[in-house]
C-alpha cells in the first residue's frame, strides 16, 4: 500500500503537532508506550512467528532469539533505566564562575524517521523505536518493503497498541522512501546498505538533520590455530551460529569470511561439515531450522557470486541452489580469488569463504587493507595476539571467541565506523542517539568580577590571564596588590 506525498505530509504535520503539544516529553507517556510495546509482542507472538516464517522461512526459535526476545529485553531495560536516563546530569564548574551551576539535560530531537531493513524486520524496526520513544520523540517508521508480511504486521498492529498520534507507520517502496527523505526530520535513523546510507545522509544534509546509519561490511572471523578439540568444536558451532544459523547469513554482523592458517584449514573444513550436518541434517533443504533467501533478486545476486568459474572451483561443501524455494544450502569455499566479487562485496548469504594465510598474524593487515567492518570476530587464546587485534584493527565492534552475542549486551554501543556506519545504539546509547544533550549554565548576580569589563588596561589583562588559567592563588595576590 504505497502512500501519496500528501498523505506523508499530513502524517508529518500530525507528528509535529503532537510533539509540540509536549505530551511525548512526559515520563509517564514514554513508559506507557514502552509497556504497550511489550504487550504488543506478548499478544502477537504467534503472528510474528508466522510473518517471519512467510517472509524469510525463519524458525520460531530464531525469531524469538533474534527478534522478539531481544526487543522485549530492550524495552524492559529501557523501562527500568528511563528515570535515570532522563535525569539531568550535574557538571562541576570552575571556581572562577562561583556561584554557578552546570548541568546537561537530554531533550528529544522532535520528529524522527526510522527506516529499517528486511533481514530482522521486527528487531530493526522496534529496537530504534524503543530509543526514540524513550528519548521523547514522535516517530515515523518506514519498514522495509521486502519483508512484506512483517511490514503489514507492523502497519496493522502498531496503531492498536501505541499512541497513533505520535507513532506512525508508512509502508511502500523506493518512491515512498524518496518522498519521506524529501521532508525535514529532526533525526533520521537508517539501517541498510552503505549505498543507500549515502543517499539518506545526502538527503539529511539539505536540512542539517543528524543521522545514525547502521550499515554493513565484510565481517571477518580470524581463527587462530586451536589445540583443544573441545575448543575447536565450540568455535565451529559459534561460527556456524554467526553465519548460517542467523537468517542464513543475511546479517549485517554475520561472519562474512574466515581467515585461518593453511595448516589448520583442513581440520576446520571437516569440523564445519560435521557440524552443519549435525545442525541441518543430510539435506539442509529439508531442515526447518534454516531460513530462506528473502527474494529472487537476492537469490540471483548470490547465485551470480558462485557462477564465477574460479569461485565455483573453490566450493568444498554445499553449492545447492533451489530457486523455487529461494533456498541456498550452507556453502563453503576454500581460497576463492581475492579480486572476485565474492571477496569484494558483502556476501549477505549462506556462502562462507575460507581464506588461508601462511601466518595468522597476516590477518591484521588483510583486514586493514579493506573497508572497516561492522564487526570483527577473533577466536584465539593468545593474549598477545588479542592485544594486537584490539589496537591494530578498527571495526564497529570486536568480539573474541564468539559471534553475534554483542546484541545481547545492553551496555555495549552497537554501531559501525567508516563504511560500516555512523553513530550507535542499544541500551542507553539508543536513548542518547535520539536526544540532544543541552548544556545549561546558571549564574547569580552576586559576586561580580570588575576586571571582566572594558575599558581594558594592563591590570585587567593580568587578571584575566590568571583567571582563565584558573590560577586562583596568584589571582588572589594580584587582587590584594601583592603581585608585581
Amino acid at each position: 500500500m504505497a502512500a501519496a506525498m500528501g498523505e506523508i505530509e499530513d502524517k508529518l504535520a500530525e507528528l509535529t503537532q503532537t510533539f509540540r503539544s509536549g505530551i511525548t516529553k512526559s515520563v509517564a507517556w514514554r513508559k506507557n508506550q514502552l509497556r504497550a510495546l511489550i504487550e504488543l509482542l506478548q499478544d502477537n507472538e504467534d503472528k510474528i512467528f508466522k510473518a517471519l516464517h512467510q517472509d524469510l522461512g525463519k524458525h520460531p526459535v530464531e525469531t524469538y532469539r533474534d527478534e522478539i526476545g531481544l526487543i522485549k529485553k530492550s524495552a524492559k531495560y529501557a523501562l527500568s533505566c528511563l528515570d535515570k536516563w532522563m535525569a539531568p546530569k550535574k557538571r562541576r564548574l570552575p571556581l572562577l564562575f562561583f556561584p554557578a551551576s552546570g548541568e546537561v539535560v537530554s531533550e528529544p530531537f522532535g520528529v524522527v524517521l526510522i527506516c529499517s531493513a528486511w533481514n530482522f524486520p521486527i528487531n530493526l524496526a522496534l529496537e530504534p523505536l524503543i530509543g526514540a520513544i524513550a528519548a521523547g520523540n514522535t516517530v515515523m517508521l518506514k519498514p522495509s518493503e521486502l519483508a512484506v508480511e512483517c511490514a503489514s504486521f507492523l502497519a496493522e498492529t502498531i496503531p492498536l497498541y501505541l499512541d497513533c498520534k505520535a507513532i506512525k507507520v508508512t509502508n511502500g517502496g523506493v518512491d515512498v522512501c524518496e518522498q519521506l527523505l524529501q521532508q525535514k526530520w529532526n533525526k533520521i535513523f537508517f539501517t541498510g546498505n552503505p549505498r543507500v546510507g549515502s543517499i539518506v545522509m545526502s538527503a539529511a544534509a539539505k536540512h542539517l538533520t543528524p543521522v545514525t546509519l547502521e550499515l554493513g561490511g565484510k565481517c571477518p572471523a580470524i581463527l587462530d590455530t586451536l589445540s583443544s578439540p573441545l575448543d575447536i568444536k565450540v568455535t565451529v558451532k559459534r561460527i556456524i551460529g554467526g553465519k548460517f544459523a542467523s537468517c542464513n547469513g543475511q546479517v549485517c554482523v554475520g561472519v562474512d569470511y574466515i581467515l585461518v592458517e593453511k595448516k589448520f584449514a583442513a581440520t576446520l573444513i571437516e569440523s564445519l561439515k560435521t557440524t552443519i550436518k549435525k545442525f541441518y541434517g543430510e539435506n539442509p533443504k529439508d531442515s526447518k531450522s534454516i531460513s530462506r533467501i528473502i527474494n529472487e533478486y537476492h537469490f540471483e545476486r548470490l547465485r551470480k557470486l558462485l557462477e564465477d568459474p574460479l569461485v565455483a572451483d573453490a566450493i568444498v561443501h554445499g553449492g545447492l541452489l533451489d530457486k523455487e524455494n529461494l533456498f541456498i544450502e550452507p556453502t563453503i569455499l576454500l581460497d576463492p580469488p581475492l579480486d572476485a566479487e565474492i571477496m569484494t562485496e558483502e556476501i549477505f548469504g549462506p556462502i562462507l569463504p575460507i581464506i588461508t594465510l601462511n601466518n595468522i598474524q597476516e590477518s591484521i593487515e588483510f583486514i586493514n587493507s579493506r573497508p572497516k567492518p561492522l564487526a570483527i570476530y577473533a577466536f584465539t587464546k593468545d593474549e598477545t595476539f588479542k592485544k594486537q587485534i584490539v589496537s591494530g584493527t578498527s571495526s564497529g565492534s570486536l568480539i573474541f571467541n564468539d559471534t553475534l552475542v554483542q546484541q545481547l549486551c545492553d551496555v555495549l554501543p552497537f554501531g559501525g565506523v567508516g563504511q560500516s556506519g555512523i553513530g550507535r545504539y542499544h541500551g542507553h546509547y539508543s536513548f542518547e542517539t535520539f536526544s540532544h544533550e543541552k548544556a545549561i549554565m546558571q549564574r547569580s548576580f552576586f559576586l561580580e568580577l570588575e576586571p571582566r569589563y572594558p575599558p581594558w588596561n594592563d591590570f585587567k589583562m593580568k587578571f584575566l590571564r590568571l583567571a582563565y588559567d584558573f590560577d586562583y592563588f596568584n589571582l588572589l595576590l594580584l587582587l590584594l596588590g601583592l603581585k608585581r
Partner: protein, 493 residues
C-alpha cells in the same frame, strides 16, 4: 627560499590531485601507528603550548590586522582559552585513552567487555574567520588528543591569521601528520572531494549543508558548529546593571558581535524596555566612551562584504526610525558603532538572518513568557540567554527552549566551561566538543567483548525445538531464577 621559489609555490594550484596526495601521505603516517601513541599525542600538545607561549605577540598582531581585535580579546579569548584546553587535555589524556569497562550480564556469562577509544584516522578541520586561532586549534587539540592525523583549512577571510597558522604549524608541529592548507572555495572543494574519516566544520549553515553533502558521499561523520539568532530574554526584577554589563560583554565584547554565541537580539516586556534601554546606553558609554567608533576596545567589521551586509540591515525600510542608539558607520575603517534598535518588525531583514555584527534589536512583548514562543518559532539557535531571578521562569525556559546551550544570568561564558558539551542542534549544528567531548568527538568508541570457550549454551543452535524455545526465553530475559528453573525443568513457559 628565494622569492622565485616562493612565487612558484604560491602559483601552484591546490586541486583535487594535490589534495588526494596530501590525504594519501597522511594515511600512510596514520597507518604507521605514529599518531596513536600516547607519546606522540603529548609531544604535539606540548608543541602547540610552546607555540602559544612563544608566539603570542605574532598572533595578537595577525588578529589586529585581520579584525582590529583588541589585544585583550586576542590574548584571553583566543590564546588563553586554547592554553586551558591544551592543559586540560595533557592532564586528562591518559584517563581519556583508557578503555572503559562495561558490565556484562548473566546472559553472556562468562564474558568481559570494554569500550576502547580509537582515532578515526585522517580528519579535516575547516575553521572560520572570527576566532581564527581558537576555532582552528581547539578542534586540532581534540583531533590530536584522540590520535588522528589532520588537515587544517583556515578561513581566507582572515588572511594574516591563516598565513600565520600555516607558518607556525610548519615550525612547531609534526608535518608528517599535521598539515595546513590555505585557500578559498577552490581549495576547500578540492579537500571536500577527498575521503576523510571525520570532518569538523565551524561556520554558517549554508556551507555546512555543502560540507555534509560532500561527507555523505564517503559516509564520513561530521561535527558541525554553526550559529543562529541567539536570543536574550530580559525579565524585570533583576540587577539590571550587572545584567547589561554581562550582555554587552557577550555581544560587543566578543569580536564586536561577530561570534556564533553572541546575543543576537533581546526580548523583553514593553514595560521594562525603557529601563533596559537606559541601562544599556549607560554601560555602553562606560565601556566604549562617547565615540565608540574610535574605541580601541572594539573589533572592526572583518571586511567590506560584511560591512555592506550589515549596512543593508540598517538601511532596510522596515527598520528606519527604529534606531534608538548608535548607528554611526565608517566605511573606510570598516567600523560600525554599537547600535540598538527598538521594536523592529519580525519580518525585517535584521530579524530573518543571523546578524553577526554590532547591531542589537530589542523586541517587546506583553508578557515575558511570550518570549519563549517567539524563540521557538524560529530555528534552533546555538545559545539562548535569560536574565531573571524568577525560579519558575527559569524552569520554563529550560524546559521549553531548545538550543545548543542555555545560560541564565550571563552570556557566552559557557564557552569556557569544559565540563559542558559545546554544540548546536538542527540549524545550529550537530555534535559537540570542548574538554573530554573533544576527545570523544574525534574518536570511534569500539565495543570489545571477550568470551571464553566454556559456557556454551546448546539452545542457541539448530536443530530448533520447542524445548529450546522455552530455555531461550528465560536465557535472554536474564532472569537468574528463571534460568535455574528452566535448567531444572521447572519452567512453565
Amino acid at each position: 627560499m628565494g622569492s622565485e621559489e616562493e612565487t612558484k609555490k604560491k602559483n601552484e594550484v591546490f586541486d583535487a590531485e594535490a589534495a588526494s596526495l596530501f590525504v594519501k601521505e597522511l594515511r600512510g603516517t596514520f597507518a604507521s601507528g605514529k599518531t596513536k601513541s600516547y607519546g606522540w599525542r603529548v609531544s604535539q600538545l606540548k608543541s602547540l603550548m610552546k607555540m602559544l607561549n612563544e608566539r603570542e605577540p605574532d598572533i595578537v598582531d595577525a588578529l589586529r590586522q585581520d579584525l582590529d581585535k583588541p589585544e585583550l580579546e586576542s590574548s584571553i579569548y583566543e590564546v588563553a582559552l586554547l592554553k586551558t584546553s591544551i592543559k586540560s587535555a595533557l592532564k586528562e589524556l591518559k584517563h581519556w585513552m583508557t578503555p572503559e569497562k562495561a558490565k556484562t550480564s548473566i546472559t553472556t556469562f562468562p564474558s568481559s567487555a570494554e569500550i576502547v577509544p580509537e582515532p578515526f584516522g585522517v580528519v579535516l578541520i575547516i575553521s572560520p574567520w572570527n576566532y581564527p586561532f581558537l576555532l582552528s586549534l581547539d578542534p586540532v587539540v581534540g583531533a590530536i588528543a584522540a590520535g588522528n592525523a589532520l588537515v587544517l583549512k583556515p578561513s581566507e577571510v582572515a588572511p594574516a591569521s591563516s598565513s600565520l597558522l600555516a607558518k607556525l604549524v610548519g615550525e612547531y608541529m609534526d608535518l608528517s601528520s599535521i598539515r595546513v592548507v590555505e585557500g578559498a572555495v577552490a581549495e576547500t572543494s578540492a579537500l571536500l572531494d577527498q575521503k576523510w574519516d571525520k570532518i569538523c566544520y565551524t561556520g554558517n549553515s549554508r556551507v555546512a549543508r555543502i560540507v555534509m553533502a560532500a561527507a555523505a558521499k564517503h559516509l564520513t561523520p561530521v561535527l558541525l558548529e554553526l550559529g543562529g539568532k541567539s536570543p536574550v530574554v530580559f525579565d524585570s526584577g533583576i540587577n539590571l546593571k550587572v545584567a547589561c554589563r554581562r550582555m554587552i560583554m557577550g555581544k560587543w565584547g566578543c569580536n564586536n558581535g561577530q561570534a556564533c554565541i553572541s546575543p543576537d537580539h533581546i526580548i523583553t516586556t514593553k514595560d521594562f524596555a525603557p529601563k533596559l534601554l537606559e541601562s544599556l546606553k549607560n554601560e555602553l558609554e562606560n565601556f566604549y566612551g562617547k565615540n565608540p567608533l574610535e574605541s580601541k576596545d572594539l573589533s572592526r567589521i572583518v571586511n567590506s562584504n560584511h560591512f555592506a551586509r550589515l549596512s543593508k540591515l540598517l538601511d532596510d525600510d522596515k527598520v528606519s526610525g527604529k534606531i534608538v542608539h548608535g548607528g554611526e558607520r565608517d566605511k573606510n575603517k570598516l567600523r560600525i558603532a554599537p547600535t540598538l534598535l527598538l521594536d523592529v518588525p519580525r519580518d525585517s531583514l535584521i530579524m530573518s538572518e543571523e546578524i553577526f555584527g554590532p547591531l542589537l534589536p530589542i523586541l517587546t512583548v506583553d508578557k515575558i513568557e511570550d518570549s519563549f514562543d517567539i524563540i521557538n518559532s524560529g530555528t534552533k539557535p546555538l545559545a539562548a540567554y535569560l536574565f531573571t531571578n524568577n525560579k519558575k521562569l527559569k524552569q520554563q525556559f529550560v524546559e521549553t527552549v531548545s538550543a545548543g546551550g542555555l545560560v541564565i544570568n550571563d552570556t557566552a561564558v559557557h564557552l569556557a566551561v569544559h565540563s559542558l558539551p559545546f554544540g548546536g542542534v538542527q540549524e545550529s549544528g550537530m555534535g559537540a566538543y570542548h574538554g573530554k567531548f573533544s576527545f570523544d568527538v574525534f574518536s570511534h568508541k569500539k565495543a570489545v567483548l571477550s568470551r571464553g570457550f566454556i559456557g556454551d549454551v546448546p539452545v542457541r543452535y539448530p536443530p530448533y525445538t520447542k524445548g529450546k524455545l522455552r530455555l531461550l526465553k528465560v536465557l535472554i530475559s536474564g532472569s537468574l531464577l528463571g534460568i535455574i528453573r528452566a535448567l531444572l525443568g521447572w519452567s512453565k513457559a
